[in-house]
């Protein structure tokens, strides 16, 4: 059995228009990596949205970051402050990873 290491998983679901802004913030705050995926459709306070809407800016993307707990919390706080006025979900959860040195 390989050893597993505890990390934090930070997920940010954000409007397409804000993805670049959030990535800029993650880079400045020291994120070592992230994965972006496009969400298909959904509904929230701002009404229904879908990926193939008239402009990608109105769709949503998920930005996934796995990091050490202190880094993940710092990133989450910074993103929360940045997106205070915007439609967004910021989720922090526990995960286990195989490659400790990668995060």
């Amino acid at each position: 059995m390989h050893e597993l290491f505890r990390k934090k998983r930070l997920e940010i679901i954000v409007e397409g228009a804000l993805v670049e802004t959030v990535l800029g913030m993650l880079d400045r705050e020291g994120a070592t990596g992230y994965t972006i995926s496009s969400a298909s459709a959904g509904r929230g306070d701002a009404g229904r949205w879908q990926r193939d809407d008239i402009t990608p800016a109105l769709g949503r993307a998920t930005i996934l970051v796995v990091a050490k707990e202190d880094v993940a919390r710092r990133l989450a706080e910074a993103v929360y402050d940045l997106l205070a006025d915007h439609a967004a979900m910021i989720l922090l959860s526990d995960v286990e990873v195989f490659r400790d040195a990668d995060y």
């Binding site: 804000l18 670049e20 701002a46 009404g47 402009t55 915007h86």
Partner: protein, 324 residues
């Protein structure tokens, strides 16, 4: 030609019938859809083609005072129409919140490239000539409205901390449609009719067919928003019809004052009447998150866009031909 003849002539073009097909299929919840990538490719094709055509026309006609005047008037219209929009929303739907009011206003100062393309094609079909440089006016009218809308919002005490970031300026000044239209316009200007000859077969003959398919897609997109229009206050829906007519009248009068041809006057009226649904929503989500996109995109795409392409364009042409 009377208004009803003009409206019927417009209605019976393949473009508008295809728009109706998309609208009907969408409302009836058919599974008809145009793949997103193809929709984008068609948009790139159409904008490049119209930009190129405009640039070639300027290469042939040269740059004159009329071009400079049209650019100045276009920018002023884009900046000041949002103030008229805000006043009209206050009257027709006083309960609308400050942020949504400002965002809607920004959409109506800015323009819809597809409405412009449809109008230009309708003029060509009707044998009405217009100035090639109007394409440059399209590109210029996209952004001043965004600045006006954000200024209106700030005065009302709303905005976002993201709005100062470089992404907003990039979104406003370098959004794809502006870069593509202006870029193709400059290319057409440089290469002229000789250079255009090399690519004319690709950009000229298929243009109407691509526009027809693109309007089918627009019909489907508008239909998906029409369902949301049911939740919009009736006063705002009325605004979505009254505002374009008022704006067209102002744009048309200014077009006459600066000496544009009848076709140019109609296009300036159409640009004034049209509302953005691509560049401005993106900027508003960045800078004015408190505003409701369910209102501003829906009004622009499901109320004003269909009104303009079906009734507005022949109406503005009929008024211009009757008065000029």
């Amino acid at each position: 030609m009377g208004f009803f003849d003009a409206a019927l002539a417009n209605l019976l073009t393949p473009m508008i019938l295809a728009f109706g097909l998309g609208l009907g299929a969408g409302i009836l919840r058919s599974d008809l859809s145009i793949p997103e990538a193809i929709g984008k490719a068609m948009a790139v094709y159409l904008m490049f083609a119209i930009g190129l055509k405009g640039g070639v026309a300027v290469n042939q006609q040269g740059v004159g005072v009329d071009l400079v005047l049209a650019l100045i008037v276009g920018a002023l219209l884009s900046f000041f129409l949002p103030f008229l929009a805000v006043a009209l929303i206050r009257i027709l739907s006083p309960a609308t919140d400050v942020a949504t009011r400002a965002a809607v206003a920004a959409h109506y100062g800015s323009i819809s490239v597809v409405t412009f393309l449809t109008a230009a094609e309708f003029l060509r079909l009707s044998g009405v000539v217009f100035e090639g440089f109007m394409v440059a006016v399209v590109a210029l009218m996209e952004t001043p409205a965004i600045i006006a809308g954000l200024w209106i919002a700030r005065r009302g005490g709303v905005g976002s901390r993201v709005s100062n970031s470089s992404s907003l300026y990039r979104e406003v000044l370098l959004n794809g449609s502006v870069v593509l239209l202006l870029g193709a316009f400059v290319i057409g200007w440089i290469v002229g009719p000789v250079g255009e000859g090399d690519v004319k077969a690709f950009f000229d003959a298929p243009f109407k067919g691509v526009l027809t398919l693109f309007l089918l897609d627009m019909g489907l997109l508008a239909a998906s928003r029409i369902r949301q229009a049911c939740g919009i206050p009736p006063g705002l829906v009325v605004y979505g019809i009254v505002m374009p007519v008022l704006s067209a009248a102002i744009g048309g009068v200014l077009g006459v004052l600066i000496g544009l041809s009848t076709g140019g006057v109609v296009l300036l009226a159409v640009l004034s009447a049209s509302a953005s649904y691509i560049a401005v929503p993106a900027a508003m989500r960045l800078a004015l998150p408190q505003a409701n996109p369910g209102v501003y995109v829906t009004l622009s795409l499901a109320v004003t866009f269909p009104f303009n392409v079906v009734i507005g364009i022949p109406l503005y042409l009929w008024v211009a031909e009757t008065l000029l």
